[in-house]
Symmetry: C2
Subunit: 455 residues, 2 copies
C-alpha cells in the first residue's frame, strides 16, 4: 500500500493538469447550447477510465446526455464497488460575479476555482486515480470496480432510472461509492449518512395578454407580479413553517439519540453568519440550524422574473411573472405527493383575474444510511487513513436523488464519501475545491479499495 | 384655412417618410449605450423645427440629454402657445415579443408600429407639421409658437425644471399644448383634463453575501426572494387598498358631478377584458374602473428579479432580490411625502435576517385642468373640426409630471390634446399609432392655431 500512496503523492501535478482539462469543458446539462460540450465531458470520463485500466468502457446514449459505464472484474470472489458520479455541471449565472472564468480553472490560496471543481468533477475524479494507481503499478485491484458516471445529475437524472433498470445485472455490486457531498467543515472529514429529497417547481402567473402601461391599466387589470408575490408569501407562515396542507404529515421526527448526535457536532452560529454574510439566523422555530438542514423539510424561492428589470424606471404592468420554487424533503415524505400538494395549494391561492400554472420540474427521494453496513465502516477507516482523522457521521441538506434510487432498484447501500466543503459555492459563482482535501481524497479513495476488500 | 388643410392632405406621404426617419432613431433615454442616438433624435427635432420656419432653434445641452428649444414670434399682440413634447422613448424589452423591429417602422392594418409611434414621437410630430404648412404656403402664423421638446421624459425629466427656471422669460406663453395622451377610444376624440402623479421605487433585498446552495443553507439562511415577496404582498390588502400608513390621507374624493361625468362615458367591461386579455376585473373595491384609473391612487409591481430565471431548475438560495414598484397619485397627494411613506413602511416590513433598501427613483405631481380656460375651449373646437366630432373631456391614469411643473413654474394652463389610443402599447412591445388619428391630429393641430388666435 505504501507504494500506492507514494505513487499518488508523486503524480499530483499530472492529476491537476488532467482535472483542469476536465473542468475546462463547459458541460452545463441544463443548457441545450452546451449539448456537444456535455458529450465531450463524457468522452473525457471514458478516456480517464481507460487510462485507469478499466477494461470495459462504454458511452451509452440516452434521450438526453450520455451515461459513461465501465467495469473491471478483478476477482469475482471479491466484493464489488460501483462508483457513481456526474460529469455535468450547474449553470454559471450570474456570470458577472465570478472572479475568474467558470471554465478557466484557477488556483488561489490553495483552492481550485472552477464550475464543477466541487460538484462533481473534482470529486468523482479521485475514484479514477485510485484505480489508475493500481493499474500503472501493475498491481491487481483489491476489489472489483464498476463505474456509472452520468451527465444529467443537475437536471434530475431523467434517464438514469431507465438505464439502471435495463442494466440491473451489470450493476450488481456490494456498495455504491459516491463522492458528491461536503465535509462538515475544513479539516473535519465526514461520511454523509442522510440526504434530503426535493420537489422543484416553476410557478407562472399570467395577467393581461401583453405588457401594459401601469398608469393607464393598473388597478382594474390585475398585476401578475403582485399576485405572484402574494402566492409566494402565503407558502410559509411567520414561524418559518410551510403552509401547504399536509406538507408535514409524513415527516419522521428525529430520535433523541439523533438529536444528541447533531448537538454534539461543532456548529458556531456566529462563524456561520460570518461565512454566509447574514446578520441573523432565520428558519423554522423550535429546531436548531443542523436539525433544520438535515431533518426538516423547507420551501425556498430560487428565482423571480417579471416585467422591467433593467436600470432605472419603466412603468409597465407586466403580462406575466415567474418564480422558481423548491421544497427539500425528509424521510418519509414522498416527493410525488408533495408535488401534488404544493401544486394544488399554489393554484388554490390564485384569484380570478390571473392564470396560475404550477409546473413540477423534477424531484428526488430523501434517504438515510444504515450505519452498521460494512461498506460504511470500510469507508470510515479509509477516510481516517487518508485524512489522518476519524470522520464524523453527518447528514446533508441537499439532494442526491440517485441514492434513493440505488437503494430501491439495486438494493445496494450507498457510501457518501464527499471531500467538498459547505462554503465551496457548489451552485453559485466562484465554485471551488480545497486542494488539500482533493489530495487527501485521492488517498482515501485508494485506501477504500483496500479496506473494502477486507470488509 | 382650406388651403392649409389641402396642403396637409396632399403631403401625407412625405409626413410619413419623415416620421419613419424619426422613429428609426433608437432614442432610449434610460439606456446609457443609446446616448448618441438620443442626441441624433434631438438633431432631427431641431431640423424639423427649421423646416417649419421656426426661426430660433437651439439644442440646449443638459447634464443628461439635450433639450430642443425653438420659437417664432409672429406678432407680439397675438396669443402664444408653447408646444411641449419629448423625443425620447421607452426601452424595448421584452424584445422577443415585437412582431416587427421596434425601430423598423411598419404599417399593418392602418396602424404604424414602432417604439415611440404613440409615445411621443408620432404625437409631437403633428405640431411640427401644422406650423410647417403655414410656412411653406407663405402665410403668417395665426399665433406665436414656442417649442420645448425634451429627451428625458421617460426617465422623469430630471433636467427640465432647471431649464424652465433658467428660461422663464423665454417660455412665457398663454398655454402649453401637449399631445402625449390617449383618446378615450377609437373614433372618440378627447381632451385630457386630469393626470395622476407618480412615485417610483426600487426595492432591493440582500440576504447572504453570495448565492448559496438552497439545500445546504436554506432555512437558517433567510431567502431574500421570499422576503421580498412577503414585503410586496403586504403593500396591498385583500380589497385592493394600499396599506402604507397615511397613503390615502390627502386623496381628494370625486364630486358628485365628476362621478356622473365619469359614469356617462362609455365603458364596456367585457370589451375591456377582451382587449387586455384578462378573465376578470380586479382593483380597489367600491370604485368603478374609470374612477380607479382617473381618481384613485394605486400601487403596482413593475418588475421582479432574483436568483435563477433560466430554463429548467437550479437549486440556488439567491443572495439578493429586486422589485420595481410604483404608486400612481391623485390630487392632493404629494409625491415626496408618499415616497417617504412607502420607503419607511417597506423598510419596516424587513425582518432581521435581510437588508432592505428602498430607492426612490423618480416622481411627478398629479394635476387637474380648469375646464373654462380659453385655450382648452379652442382645443376643443379644433379637435371637433379635425376629427369631425366633439371631443369628450376625460382624465388619464398615467403621469406627465411636466404638466404640474408648467402650472407651478410658469402659471400657464396646459392643454392635453392627445391622439393616441389606450391599447397602443405605449410602454410595451408592438407600440403603434392609428394612422387615421395621426392625419386627423395634424389637421387638429393646424385648426388649433387658428382657433387659439381667436380665443
Amino acid at each position: 500500500m505504501q507504494e500506492i500512496t507514494q505513487y499518488l503523492e508523486s503524480n499530483r501535478d499530472r492529476y491537476l493538469d488532467e482535472l483542469f482539462e476536465f473542468l475546462r469543458i463547459p458541460s452545463v446539462s441544463t443548457d441545450p447550447d452546451r449539448k456537444d460540450d456535455v458529450v465531450r465531458a463524457a468522452e473525457f470520463v471514458a478516456d480517464q477510465l481507460r487510462l485507469a485500466g478499466i477494461d470495459k468502457v462504454e458511452i451509452v446514449p440516452t434521450d438526453g446526455h450520455p451515461i459513461v459505464y465501465g467495469e473491471k472484474i478483478q476477482d469475482p470472489s471479491k466484493p464489488t464497488a460501483l462508483v457513481y458520479g456526474h460529469y455535468d455541471v450547474q449553470p454559471v449565472d450570474p456570470i458577472e460575479l465570478w472572479e475568474s472564468g467558470p471554465f478557466e480553472p484557477t488556483i488561489r490560496d490553495g483552492h481550485l476555482y472552477a464550475r464543477g471543481s466541487a460538484d462533481d468533477k473534482g470529486q468523482v475524479f479521485i475514484h479514477f486515480k485510485s484505480a489508475e494507481a493500481y493499474h500503472k503499478l501493475g498491481k491487481p485491484l483489491p476489489v472489483n470496480l464498476k463505474y456509472l458516471i452520468e451527465g444529467e445529475e443537475e437536471i434530475g437524472s431523467p434517464h438514469l432510472e431507465r438505464f439502471i433498470r435495463d442494466r440491473q445485472a451489470d450493476l450488481k455490486a456490494d456498495t455504491v461509492m459516491i463522492s458528491d457531498t461536503a465535509m462538515f467543515a475544513r479539516g473535519v472529514p465526514s461520511i454523509c449518512c442522510g440526504l434530503r429529497g426535493l420537489a422543484y417547481f416553476q410557478i407562472d402567473v399570467q395577467g393581461p395578454s401583453g405588457d401594459l402601461h401601469s398608469g393607464s391599466f393598473g388597478g382594474p387589470v390585475g398585476n401578475p407580479a403582485f399576485e405572484l408575490a402574494r402566492i409566494l408569501a402565503a407558502l410559509k407562515d411567520d414561524r418559518g413553517r410551510v403552509t401547504v396542507p399536509g406538507f408535514y404529515d409524513d415527516v419522521r421526527e428525529l430520535t433523541e439519540q439523533e438529536q444528541q448526535e447533531f448537538a454534539s457536532l461543532p456548529f458556531d452560529p456566529e462563524e456561520f453568519m460570518k461565512e454566509t454574510g447574514v446578520k441573523a439566523l432565520n428558519g423554522e422555530q423550535g429546531y436548531t440550524p443542523l436539525e433544520q438542514f438535515w431533518s426538516r423539510p423547507t420551501l425556498e424561492v430560487n428565482g423571480l422574473l417579471s416585467g422591467f428589470t433593467g436600470e432605472g424606471a419603466k412603468t409597465v404592468l407586466p403580462a406575466k411573472a415567474m418564480a422558481k420554487v423548491s421544497t427539500r424533503l425528509v424521510p418519509d415524505q414522498d416527493y410525488r405527493k408533495i408535488a401534488r400538494q404544493v401544486s394544488d395549494y399554489a393554484r388554490s391561492l390564485a384569484p380570478d383575474w390571473v392564470d396560475v400554472q404550477v409546473s413540477y420540474l423534477h424531484g428526488g427521494k430523501p434517504w438515510v444510511a444504515n450505519l452498521d453496513h460494512p461498506a460504511l465502516k470500510a469507508a470510515s477507516r479509509a477516510v481516517k487513513r487518508g485524512f489522518g482523522k476519524r470522520p464524523v457521521f453527518q447528514r446533508e441538506g441537499g439532494t442526491i436523488p440517485i441514492v434513493a434510487t440505488f437503494d430501491e432498484l439495486l438494493g445496494v447501500p450507498t457510501v457518501l464519501m464527499g471531500i467538498g466543503l459547505p462554503d465551496e459555492n457548489a451552485h453559485a459563482p466562484n465554485e471551488r475545491l480545497l486542494l488539500e482535501h482533493f489530495y487527501a481524497g485521492i488517498q482515501s479513495a485508494a485506501y477504500f479499495l483496500e479496506e473494502f476488500s477486507e470488509a
